[in-house]
Assembly symmetry: C2
Homo-oligomer: 309 residues x 2
């Protein structure tokens, strides 16, 4: 199997866009056909609807984008049946040629971190089979190392939270220590680990160790592109959280590579947005397709991702 | 239902000890009776063995201690069947009178954090039904608030990571910003949120918002007891990670309340330790009982928890 980084680069080159579609199923926002006739949903109802909905989103976006990002929380919210459904969704996306980044933000002390990595990371070599996983850095280097080791062994990837997209992210991430913010300390460790993980003589400048930097901080995003030279950037916060195509321009290298830009609600629940309401609840998949194409066009127009076209 | 904090205080008073038994099933360390005859274990084998093992640990410790702490990672490692088993283990522990703190170290941005809280937190009111959950602070205040809100609504509890027990915890937690370490900034926010969560005129000085502070940093633990005046402290790192009874003395208030001290491997896999090897693999439950009683005695001898006896 190719490395995670090479799989992601190839998928972006093939689809000619860095759009990452977030799979965040929420019961109240599903098209009515998924919830109609269900009274008080049971755990099985949630699992069934989330599975079917995500499969049908994947059917629309798989020809258009390189990767999807299921959010573990929305599945875990609904219990073990839904966590089984998540595993099926990941495998289905992979069967359709998509790279799957599982958004779990997991972490723990070393030997326990290794257990999360073993369970979640690795296409075809773990119960959940994700190509990559998001992880949280608060527990430090010995908590991040097991994820990186597992990623190397299984040709998978890791995205470490550096600067998150939510307004409250600044509370601790922006504290200034030794003249620079905490997130920059984290970024420097991540870049060092990422550089160490680069295969020798690889033509691909990015390794299996990436970073999460929010679209809601355009200046810091451009600054992080410079710091995190060996890292894929996973950029959340586009669309519903307020980031636009111009805001993420700084995430890319001059070839339009080096970043994937996530949009969850703005794509999968596009039928709820005024600009796509014309499709109606029944043609919700056409709304998903239109929103995806519009985002592809916006990134191509406003960023170096246009060079991929 | 009583509040989480009152349930925990009552359980400690009733069992007269603050020992918290960590449920960290690991296949390679299970007593041979759980793994004998299983070749290459399937996901079902893992789930079955972990469920049975944890039930049998609970049978031994339920009369002796107030609470248990299942580690989500070891169940998630083994797939959806094991995550279902975890839910059963939590309910069984509660049926035996134990308070259950689920160690998940979850977090995400606000609306997603709310999904984790909805799925994991709340005895009898969520799929996993935990009395309390550990959460990570890197994403800031708006990521912690949804857990605290859900805890209040469901009479559950939250333990925020402040100073973790692993050696690498210091990498980012001990960075000095504005003259004090990052973990102290986190602690001050947590204490403020905890104080806000205290019910008016409660005789119990601790609220539903607690903190995790490792036994491996005795000086900081005593300092955190002073800072986190409204917080239950969850103290990991006793035993296998090197902390002893004297090291955790600073975690308690003068009544022997205010903290629970976790021991996982040192209790549940006691039959592997030289001092309890005399029981042998077959009498592993007697080793669990002996190790639990020894820890109860050590804390009673070396800390104010002795006043509970």
């Amino acid at each position: 199997m190719l490395s995670f980084s090479d799989r992601l680069a190839l998928a972006i080159a093939e689809k000619r866009t860095p759009v990452l579609v977030g799979l965040d199923p929420r019961w109240a926002q599903l098209p009515v056909s998924f919830t109609d006739g269900v009274g008080e949903p049971t755990e099985f109802d949630f699992a069934e609807a989330y599975s079917r909905f995500c499969h049908e989103v994947i059917d629309v976006v798989a020809p258009l984008v390189p990767a999807v990002k299921p959010q573990a929380a929305f599945f875990e919210q609904c219990g073990p049946d839904a966590m089984r459904a998540l595993s099926g969704v990941i495998r289905y996306a992979q069967s359709k040629g998509l790279v799957v980044i599982l958004d779990g933000k997991r972490n723990d002390i070393g030997s326990t971190a290794a257990a999360y990595a073993a369970g979640l990371l690795g296409r075809g070599s773990s119960p959940w089979s994700a190509d990559a996983l998001t992880v949280s850095p608060y527990l430090g280097d010995d908590s991040l190392a097991p994820f990186i080791e597992t990623a190397k062994e299984r040709d998978a990837g890791v995205f470490v939270l550096v600067k998150t997209s939510n307004p409250g992210g600044k509370l601790f991430q922006d504290l200034i220590a030794d003249g620079k913010p905490v997130y920059r300390h984290v970024a420097e460790w991540v870049e060092s680990a990422s550089r160490d993980a680069l295969p020798p003589r690889s033509p691909n400048p990015y390794s299996c160790v990436g970073a999460v930097v929010g679209a809601t901080w355009p200046k810091q995003l451009a600054e992080m592109r410079q710091t995190l030279r060996s890292c894929w950037l996973l950029v959340p916060g586009y669309g519903s959280q307020g980031g636009g195509a111009k805001d993420v321009a700084g995430a890319f290298d001059e070839r339009g590579m080096g970043a994937v830009i996530n949009n969850s609600r703005g794509i999968i629940f596009a039928h709820k947005k005024p600009e796509y309401a014309k499709f109606g609840e029944k043609k919700w998949q056409q709304a998903v397709e239109a929103a995806t194409l519009d985002m592809i066009d916006a990134l191509a127009a406003e960023t170096t991702a246009g060079k991929l076209r």
